[in-house]
């Protein structure tokens, strides 16, 4: 299981990357492995507003349905449309081609976990 050090994490197993006021959100390798084969993803619509800590989408595997919680507040300006036809990309490349959506934010997301802190969290759950 990989946890890239350059990303921030939430305790709900999303990863977050912030660059030039744009926040990219995905789910972690730990989450993808725990869920099993991901067969359906619903991301927020482009132009919609998401609120930090609120559900904004769903990830479904063969055996489970999970809410995606937005780690940040702001306007969604891009979503990963390729996931609609190939949701399994989240299993094969969760930190790359498996990204979920991008949000334009005025503030840096707060309370993110470091890679080290997130790893500790997952070890407690594994």
């Amino acid at each position: 299981m990989s946890v890239p050090t350059e990303l921030g994490y939430t305790d709900k197993h999303e990863w977050v990357s912030v660059q030039d006021g744009v926040t990219t959100v995905g789910i972690t390798s730990f989450a993808a492995e725990s869920l099993g084969d991901i067969v359906y993803v619903e991301v927020p619509e482009v132009g919609s507003e998401v609120t930090a800590g609120e559900p904004c989408g769903e990830v479904e595997s063969t055996k489970s349905v999970s809410d995606i919680y937005s780690p940040v507040s702001g306007e969604v300006f891009e979503v990963n449309e390729a996931l609609e036809g190939e949701p399994e990309t989240i299993n094969s490349d969760p930190y790359g081609a498996g990204w979920l959506f991008r949000v334009r934010t005025s503030e840096e997301p707060s309370d993110l976990l470091s890679a080290e802190e997130y790893t500790k969290l997952t070890e407690g759950e594994d």
Binding site: V39, V59, D126
Partner: protein
Amino acid sequence: MTEGEDGNATHVTTPILSGVPMSEPASEPRVTALREVHEKAGATLVEFAGWLMPLRYDSETAEHKAVREAAGMFDLSHMGEIRLRGPQAAEALDYALVGNLSGLKVGRARYTMITNEDGGVLDDLIVYRLGEEEYLVVANAVNTPVVAPALAERASGFDVEVTDESADYALIAIQGPRSVDVLAPLTDADLDGIRYFAGYEHTVAGEPVLLARTGYTGEDGFEIFVRPAAKAPKVWEALMSQGAEHGLVPAGLSARDTLRLEAGMPLYGQELTAELTPFDAGLGRVVKFDKGDFVGRARLEEASRDTRPRRLIGLLARGRRPLRKGQEVLRDGTTVGTITSGAPSPTLGRPIAMAYVDGDLDTTTGAFSVDVRGRNEDVDVVELPFYKRRS
């Protein structure tokens, strides 16, 4: 993402494994003789019906496809084995179960059910006739604590001994078109001579077993009852080494559930419950009235004369959003039924489901949909099973 209590992310409405209550276990789950083998193979182990069982080893979709195209091996040691032995074993089973077990030939197996006095299904069973006076009843793990005492009680008026031997047995299933190739070099049995739903004493990997040509996947395959259970790792490892060149992979309960759903096979706790008679489930053919009295007979005779109050239909989604147990089925916007099992189908590439609807519902007209958490997803009503192997 939300987190389930077992570390697997699960939605509040959807159990990680279908067919069993998701309540916290009262005690530590039981483990099978193959637990270490599974751990070494990297299995995700989950509690199922009071047992710690492999959910999947790697990708459950790949395991599913391996069973359809090559072969997969399952640990089913959680299932219950109850032996009846004695001069009146056949009569006892004819009284205890809905089927005609006295008519079963030695060496053959039969799918049957046990009901309560009201005709409600307590479990679906495979019964093997091992000898003139000897049967082995195979029950679902979750129901074995009900079935074993019920059989003992119902057999008390007959000259027969009933023993719950579940703890003595391990059960390994090998399923898929290459099953014969995998098994043949390791057994003394002439596999071509073993018909579907037959079972005999043989050896596999040098160990005495009950070898049966049965399964729950819609494919050809075998179930290997190993006693004592401690011999199971040796049999498993021998099959796995032999099977590697044929594409054999270990497969978990997740693949098993999607395989049986594609094959249109009912699962206890979903399509079958104590609130439904076999007729309600569309499986009235397993009830045989051409025999003497049996538990549930009076009520089942009534049920057989009723216009069937409901029937099981197949649904195929037009989109990709999975259908799940408990979701409502609508025709032209009006609720007409409820899904009992639903999952993405690896073979069809789209979500499928089985659902109960009223028996007189005309499914040939109208627009069908499923309410998936507040949004209607379009579906088509299709014939069951969703998948049938080429024979």
